[in-house]
Symmetry: C2
Subunit: 165 residues, 2 copies
DNA sequence: TTATCTAATGTTATACCATAACAGTAAAGG
DNA sequence: CCTTTACTGTTATGGTATAACATTAGATAA
């Protein structure tokens, strides 16, 4: 399981309130429709679960919650919803944690890096435009053409540094 | 399984020859001893397998080869050897592939990014000093202190771009 | 509307990745 | 030597992910 204690104001300043969650869901739905995609009940609920959770959740953890609410009980139910969200820029996959997190800036074309606190397990989405540019440079030296990248850092979030200082 | 066809001169310029492999193994052994670590037969052979392979190998793939040569047959045999190599800077874990690759610059303290070709499955280790610096900057904005990072890009290697052009 | 087509959901089954726990063995140090 | 520690091997289990197929719901068009 991917657990974490919540360091308030750290990991989720922009999607913590329930009003915000509803607004994000609605605008996600509009954007999805605009691209000819459907934010169906399982998908919408999956996104909502991610938005309400502080940090990243594993697929099976999400599956449990979905199933408890009457959705299917088997892994593909969760994986399909999660893959949909990732493909539509509504969530990100955190490879180091084998987990998923809601996108902090849905609808914006962006490069993200993820900052994973090994003390409180929070996951912060940081802007990675500069990182991405540097990576593109490094790839170019090797003649490599990048399609997409995974940038994840492990360490300590601000709150946890203070605590252990 | 993690397969890949070999694009000569691309992924493994510096550890392709068998003479080089032997030399790398020996110097790895010296360095290990110097730190009070032992490059035992399984570990040495595991590193050799990684060095000879072009690209990344999964733990079970390595396990098969080790077992075929008289080493143990169970997963921990491979995982322990691989973890040793990673901890001693002789190999890297490629998270996107759930696989491992020999370090291209063992013994040098370095930041690496991995360029994964989705056509030929080759994995190239690129210098990521600048990328790392940019990531450190991005983290600093969030007050995050990085311990270690995973930087992996997926796309097309030089050889495969030419092929498909 | 109703027939048809397509996308989405749900299931079973299976494959793949990784580690805990413990027993036996080999190496290092007194 | 004998003790201690590190390493190897095993069994057993847990966690992650997808293939394949049946069913249902939505969209499309006659
Ligand atoms: Zn995002
Ligand atoms: Zn923290
Ligand atoms: Zn390296
Ligand atoms: Zn290639």
């Amino acid at each position: 399981m991917v657990t974490q204690s919540h360091q308030d104001g750290f990991c989720c300043a922009d999607h913590s309130g329930s009003a915000n969650v509803a607004a994000i869901l609605d605008s996600a739905e509009s954007r999805a429709r605009a691209q000819g995609a459907r934010l169906t009940p399982v998908r919408r609920r999956t996104l909502e679960i991610l938005l309400q959770s502080h940090g990243a959740l594993g697929a099976y953890e999400i599956l449990d919650r979905l199933n408890a609410e009457g959705f299917g009980s088997q892994p593909p139910v969760a994986y399909r919803a999660l893959n949909f969200l990732v493909e539509h820029g509504l969530a990100h996959r955190i490879r180091r944690l084998n987990a998923f997190t809601a996108c902090a800036h849905p609808g914006h074309d962006h490069r993200a890096a993820f900052l994973i606190c090994e003390t409180c397990n929070s996951v912060t989405e940081a802007d990675a435009v500069a990182v991405s540019a540097a990576l593109g440079q490094a790839a170019q030296v090797a003649g490599f053409q990048i399609t997409r990248a995974t940038i994840e850092a492990v360490g300590q979030c601000r709150a946890c540094q203070v605590t252990s200082a």
